[in-house]
Amino acid sequence: VTLLKLAVLLLPLALYAQRGAPPVPPLVESGFDQIFDGHSLNGWDGDPSFWRVEGGALVGQTTTDHQPAQNTFLIWRGGSPADFELKLQYKLTGFNSGIQFRSIELPDIKWAMKGYQADMDGEQRYTGQIYEERGRGFLALRGQFSYIPNGGKPGAVSSLGDDKDLKSIIKPDDWNDLHLIVRGNMMVQMLNGRVTSMLIDDDLAGRKLDGLIGIQVHRGPPMKIEVKNIRLKKL
């Protein structure tokens, strides 16, 4: 009986060893803080004619008749995280939006930002890429593990998958899970459980190692961005 018990106990271990893959449990979150209270703009700062709270989400919206002079942002006033993880859910209807991180505010234009952006657009051309708003432009396209040498041009070191496959994981006009991991000079962007872009930024003059978080309302065709369940883990 004891031997049998032992065999039963060891069986999962034996299977584990045989299959050779770790049984990975579902993701357990620890250390994350909600940075949006779900019902007010407390802690966030942006042009009130474009931003509101509705249905438990931050909502930024433009119409053909109501346009910002340039891209405008809802800025989180809780800090300038350096190394962090950020998780949120977003739904984009229409033109273009994005989540800024390690960014700055322009000194001369209120609510305008410069810096890294987890990009998104209604046609899913850019969704999943890392773009630098008012900076170095396209840093890592969807499907790229990209590298920026000091003073140089971003280039793809390795592939993260076929662009069509990666595009297919995005849910247009619906809620998507965005997850950013930012550590030192390396950053990883994930959408709906899939890595979509990675970047190592060795450009000493161009890069930034901490900064503001913000959400974009893009000038142009009408758009509506909804963001909820925003969790930040500072490292």
Binding site: G20, A21, L27, P149, K153, P154, A156, S158, S159, V195
Partner: protein, 245 residues
């Protein structure tokens, strides 16, 4: 030249070479190596490397590890690079393995005693870019004699200690990623920065591990290549380049 003039000329030259992005620019695949890579294998000898000559030799310019029916081993043994203990680095190398073979590239590793084969002075513990001829394990992050499976092919994981690694995200279907591996030469690219470990193979990211298990992780250490317990096998490596950061 006056030192100050010389320095300002240098600065002006650097500024002139600075890349200025255009809105139409997109990152394109990098061909060849970025600056800073240096060869760590001379293609002729095992100078700078240390291992049991019974298993390791250079043949036709290729670093070769072989186990024959006469030299079957009871525990894994390594050929170790003696040129340093890099912490943050990029490593590129090509490999080819026989169908029944198992090997791997250890990094940030240490030499440990081998109780099974006490005469083996080349046992290692540490992170490993795993390689096997059947591609069950190839390109996973396996910690030899340590925490074992840290991330399998297609996984991005978070190692926190005191529990199994947590799956953060997918890098693609493991079977689909296996189709990028050939039975001929394959190009490995390992990128290691602080506690993020990235394994690429033939231009595809295969495995990413974020290691926050502070008591058990290593910040630097030895590089070595493995011949594994099992039947006869042959592993070949060539074109080693290291960029230590």
């Amino acid at each position: 030249m006056h030192r100050r003039v010389f320095l300002s000329t240098l600065a002006a030259t650097a500024a002139a070479q600075q890349y200025v992005p255009k809105q139409s620019d997109r990152p394109e695949p990098i061909s060849g190596d970025e600056p800073g890579f240096t060869p760590i294998f001379d293609g002729k000898s095992l100078d700078g490397w240390e291992g049991d000559p019974k298993y390791w030799r250079v043949e036709n310019g290729v670093m070769t590890g072989e186990i024959t029916p006469e030299t079957i081993i009871k525990s894994n043994t390594f050929l170790i690079w003696r040129g340093g203990s890099p912490g943050d680095f990029e490593l590129k190398v090509d490999y080819r393995i026989t169908s029944g073979g198992n090997s791997g590239i250890n990094y940030r590793s240490v030499v440990v005693p081998d109780p099974v084969t006490p005469t083996n002075k080349f046992a290692m513990r540490g992170y490993q870019f795993d390689i096997d001829g059947q591609n069950r394990y190839t390109s996973q992050n396996y910690e030899e004699k340590g925490r074992l499976f840290l991330g399998t092919r297609g996984q991005m994981t978070h190692v926190v200690g005191g529990r199994k690694p947590v799956l953060l995200s997918s890098l693609g279907d493991p079977a689909a990623l296996a189709t990028f591996i050939t039975t001929d030469w394959n190009a490995i690219h390992i990128t290691v920065r602080v506690n993020v470990l990235i394994h690429s193979l033939n231009g595809h990211v295969m495995c990413v591990v974020v290691d926050d298990d502070v008591p058990n992780r290593t910040a630097n250490g030895l590089i070595g290549v493995q011949v594994h317990v099992g039947g006869p096998m042959k592993i070949e490596y060539r074109n080693w380049r290291l960029k230590a950061l």
